[in-house]
Symmetry: C2
Subunit: 452 residues, 2 copies
C-alpha cells in the first residue's frame, strides 16, 4: 500500500468529522438557505487540508463558487479539475427523516443527513486525497484545481458563466465529475456522460380567485384542464407524444450497445429497494439498461392545486400548477424541445396554459476511447477490486458546458452507494465507500501524473 | 314600520361590533383552531341578547354545538329553529387577503374577514332579530330555538347525531337554514333544497419513497397514474363517466322547470365576477340554471404530489393525492355512488388507487307547496321588495338529516351577497344586507306566530 493510502486509513476520523461539519451547515439552494455560509465553510476545510482557495463571484443573487488550487512542483504540465457542489436538495418531507435532516448522525457504517452523499461526501473524498499527498510528500502528482459551485441542485444556471469568466484559471486536461455511484455489489460506476434536462412549470388559470366548489357546475376547474393537457403529453408506457420529440436522436452505436450489455444492473435488487414490482412500460433486461443510459422522460415533479391540507375543503381552485422535468439525450436541444412542447399544447387546444422554463441543459458524453477513461478505470479497479463503465448516467449535470468551454474529458467516479437516498429522506454516505473513493482519487492523481 | 324594525335600525352598531367579535375569534374546523373558544363566544353573545343558551356536547374530539332557546309567553305552540354554524373555512391562501383574514375590518358598506358572511353574518342577524322582540316587547311571537354547530365546513359529520340525541329539545315546526343568498339585484334567494356531497381522497402510491427523477425511466410516477385515472372519471363537458352515476335521478317535474325558468340568473354578471368567458360544457340560458339546481359534479378540490415549493426539485414523487368532491342530487345515495366510483376504478385498471371517504351526505328538497314557504316568501318580499324562489341551492348541507329527524320543512333565506367571496380570500358581509336580513327574520317570526 502506498503511503497516501495509509494516510487515508489513519485519518478517517478527520474525514468523517469534516463531512459532519459540512452536513451540519444547511445549504439549500432552492430556498437560498445557508449558501454563502457553506461556501465559506467549504473553503475553510479546503485550506485546512493545504489547498489554496478563493471565493469566485459573478454578481448579486448568484451563489458564490469556491475555487481551490494546488500546483505540482514536480509535474506542473498536467492538471486535473474536481467539479463539486456545496449546495443540497431541499430536506422535505421532513417528517420522514429518522434524525434531523442536517444532523450528520452516524449509525454504524453510515453518516446521515441531506448532502451526506450528494455532494458533500464526494467533495470531502477529493479534498482528503489531495491532503494525503501534501501531508506525506509535500507535493501533488499533477496540478489540482477545484470548482465547487452552489447552484447544482437548482440546475447549475451559472456554472457555464463561471467557466467562461474564469476559463484560464479553470483550464485543465481532465475533469472528475461531482458524483460517482457504487453499485449494490460494491463496484464503482465510471460514468462518461450525463443526460440533459428541460424543467418547466405549467400553469392553468381559470377564475380570478378560488370559488366555492358548488360552482363547479359552471366554472371550469384548472386542475381538470391540466389533467386533460397532461394526458396528451405521454402514453402509459412513458413514451413522449410531442411531435418530433425524438427526431434528432441517434440510435446506439454497436460499441455503445456492447458497453450497455456488459453494464450490470440487478433488477430484483432495484425493485426491492424502491418497493416496486415492474418497470415503466414493462421494460426488462437490456431495455432497462438502454432506458437508464438513453431514455428521455417526461416526469411530473410536482402537481399543486386547491386544498392540500388535512380534512375537506370544498373549493374550486382558480389555478393549477405542474412542474415537469424532461430528461434529454444527446442531440436533443433544450430550446428546440421547449418550442415543440409549446406548439404541442397550442395544437391540442391548451394554448392558454402558461409554460415557464425553469431550466434547460443539453446532454453530453465523453468518448470511451479517451485516454483519461483508462486512467480512471485502472484506479477504480485498484481501489474497489472491480469497476463498471457506463456510457451515460441517467442524471443531469452541466457536463456539456465543461466539455464545450474547457475542452476536457469529464468522467464521474465516486463514493455514493446507489441506494444512498440522495434527494430523499434519510440520505446517507457509507464510511467504507468514502474511504475507498478517497484512495481511488489518490490513484487517479498518481496515474494521471505518471502518464505525463 | 314596526317597532322591532326600528330597533334594528337603531342598533346596527351593536350588530356590527358583535359580528366583528365573532370574526376576530378564528374558528377553523379543518385545522381544529379556536373551535371551543368560538362556541363559548357565540353563546355569550346570544345570552347578551336575552337568549338562554347551553353548550351541547357529544364527546371528545367532536366540536360542541351551541343551543339557544327563548320560549314565547303568548304563543308557545309553534317553534322556529335557526340552524347556523360558528366554524369557518380555512383562511388560505393568506397572501391574497387585503387585510388579515380575521380582522373584521370595515371598508364602506362591507365587513371583511373569514366567516363574515359564512356563517357568522347570518348568525348575528338571527340573534339580533330575537333581541329586537325581547327588548321591545319582552316576548317573542313564537318559540325560538337555535342550533349552532361547529363542523359545518368540514361536512357536519355529527349534526345528525346531535339531532338524534337532542331530538326533543330541538323539535320544531320549521327550520331557517344557516345561509341565504342575495342576488346581484338585491333579491333574496329563498332556497328550498340542497345538493348532497361525496367527498373522497384518492391516493396513488408507487415507490416506497420519493426518488431522484432520473429514475423516471424505470419507476412509475403516481402523479401520472392519477392523471390517467382521473381522465376516466369525467368528460371535458363535465359529464361524469362512472357507470350508472345518474341512474336514479328523476328529471325535473313541470312545476320545478317552471320555477327554474323564472329564477333570474345574470350570466354576464356572474362571468365578470369570476373573470371567465364561458361555462362548463358551453352551457347557456336555462341549462345554466338547471345545472345550478340539479347538476352533479366531479370537482378536483385538491391535487398534491411532489415538489410544490419555489424553484426546481428533480424529484419522482412516491405518492399522489387528490381530493374530489362530487355534488349529488336527490335520489343519489352517497354510499351507492361511492361503490360505483370504486368499481369504476377497479374496472379501469386502477384498483390500486386507494379511495378514502371524507364525507357523504344526501341531497334534500322542501316541497314548494309547504305553507312555511309562503311565510318566508312574504317576509322576504316585505323586507327586500322582491324575492326569488329556488328549488335547490347548488351547495350542500345536512338538510336531509334535519328533514328526516325533525320532520320539519327547511328553508334558507339570509343576508349573503352572492359574490361575497365565501370560502375565498377577502370574504365580506354587506352591512345593508345584514340590516335587511335582520328585519326579514323579524317578519318571519311575526308572520309565523300570527298564523298559529
Amino acid at each position: 500500500m502506498m503511503e497516501q493510502e495509509r494516510y487515508v486509513d489513519k485519518n478517517m476520523p478527520s474525514l468523517i468529522s469534516d463531512l459532519q461539519r459540512l452536513i451540519r451547515q444547511p445549504s439549500v439552494s432552492a430556498k437560498n438557505i445557508g449558501i454563502r455560509e457553506c461556501a465559506v465553510l467549504a473553503a475553510k476545510i479546503m485550506r485546512e487540508s493545504g489547498i489554496k482557495t478563493e471565493i469566485l463571484r459573478l454578481g448579486k443573487g448568484i451563489a458564490p463558487a469556491v475555487y481551490g488550487e494546488v500546483r505540482s512542483k514536480k509535474n506542473p504540465q498536467k492538471t486535473i479539475l474536481f467539479y463539486n457542489h456545496y449546495d443540497v436538495q431541499p430536506e422535505e418531507p421532513i417528517d420522514l427523516w429518522n434524525d434531523p435532516p442536517f444532523s450528520g448522525k452516524i449509525r454504524g457504517n453510515k453518516i446521515y443527513g441531506r448532502g451526506a452523499a450528494d455532494d458533500k461526501g464526494e467533495l470531502i473524498t477529493r479534498i482528503k486525497a489531495v491532503e494525503a499527498f501534501l501531508r506525506t510528500t509535500g507535493d501533488v502528482p499533477c496540478n489540482i484545481k477545484f470548482l465547487v459551485e452552489g447552484e447544482e441542485e437548482v440546475g447549475s444556471m451559472h456554472v457555464e458563466e463561471y467557466l467562461r469568466k474564469f476559463k484560464t484559471k479553470l483550464s485543465c486536461d481532465g475533469v472528475i465529475w461531482e458524483f460517482g455511484y457504487v453499485d449494490e455489489k460494491g463496484r464503482p460506476v465510471i460514468s462518461l456522460g450525463m443526460k440533459g434536462l428541460l424543467y418547466v412549470e405549467l400553469t392553468a388559470k381559470e377564475s380570478v380567485r378560488d370559488a366555492h366548489s358548488s360552482l363547479a357546475v359552471l366554472i371550469e376547474n384548472p386542475a381538470w384542464r391540466m389533467v386533460e393537457a397532461l394526458r396528451t403529453l405521454r402514453d402509459v408506457d412513458g413514451k413522449i407524444l410531442i411531435k418530433d420529440w425524438y427526431k434528432e436522436v441517434d440510435p446506439f452505436s454497436r460499441e455503445e450497445l456492447g458497453i450497455i450489455r456488459k453494464e450490470p444492473f440487478d433488477e430484483g435488487s432495484f425493485k426491492r429497494e424502491y418497493g416496486i414490482t415492474r418497470f415503466v412500460g414493462g421494460r426488462e433486461g437490456v431495455d432497462v439498461k438502454k432506458a437508464m443510459v438513453g431514455g428521455s422522460t417526461c416526469n411530473i415533479a410536482g402537481f399543486s392545486s386547491g386544498w392540500e391540507g388535512p380534512g375537506a375543503k370544498t373549493v374550486l381552485p382558480s389555478t393549477a400548477s405542474v412542474k415537469i422535468d424532461f430528461r434529454l439525450v444527446p442531440r436533443m436541444d433544450p430550446s428546440r424541445q421547449l418550442l415543440r412542447l409549446a406548439k404541442h399544447l397550442r395544437k391540442k387546444g391548451f394554448g392558454d396554459i402558461q409554460v415557464r422554463v425553469i431550466h434547460g441543459e443539453a446532454a453530453s458524453r465523453t468518448p470511451v476511447s479517451d485516454p483519461f477513461v483508462k486512467v480512471v478505470e485502472d484506479a477504480a479497479h485498484e481501489s474497489f477490486g472491480s469497476a463498471v463503465i457506463s456510457i451515460s448516467s441517467a442524471g443531469t449535470g452541466p457536463m456539456y458546458s465543461f466539455s464545450k468551454v474547457l475542452g476536457a474529458p469529464c468522467i464521474s467516479v465516486g463514493s455514493t452507494y446507489v441506494y444512498a437516498r440522495i434527494h430523499s429522506p434519510n440520505e446517507f454516505a457509507r464510511i467504507d465507500l468514502l474511504k475507498k473513493a478517497t484512495k481511488c482519487v489518490c490513484k487517479i492523481l498518481r496515474n494521471f501524473g505518471a502518464r505525463t
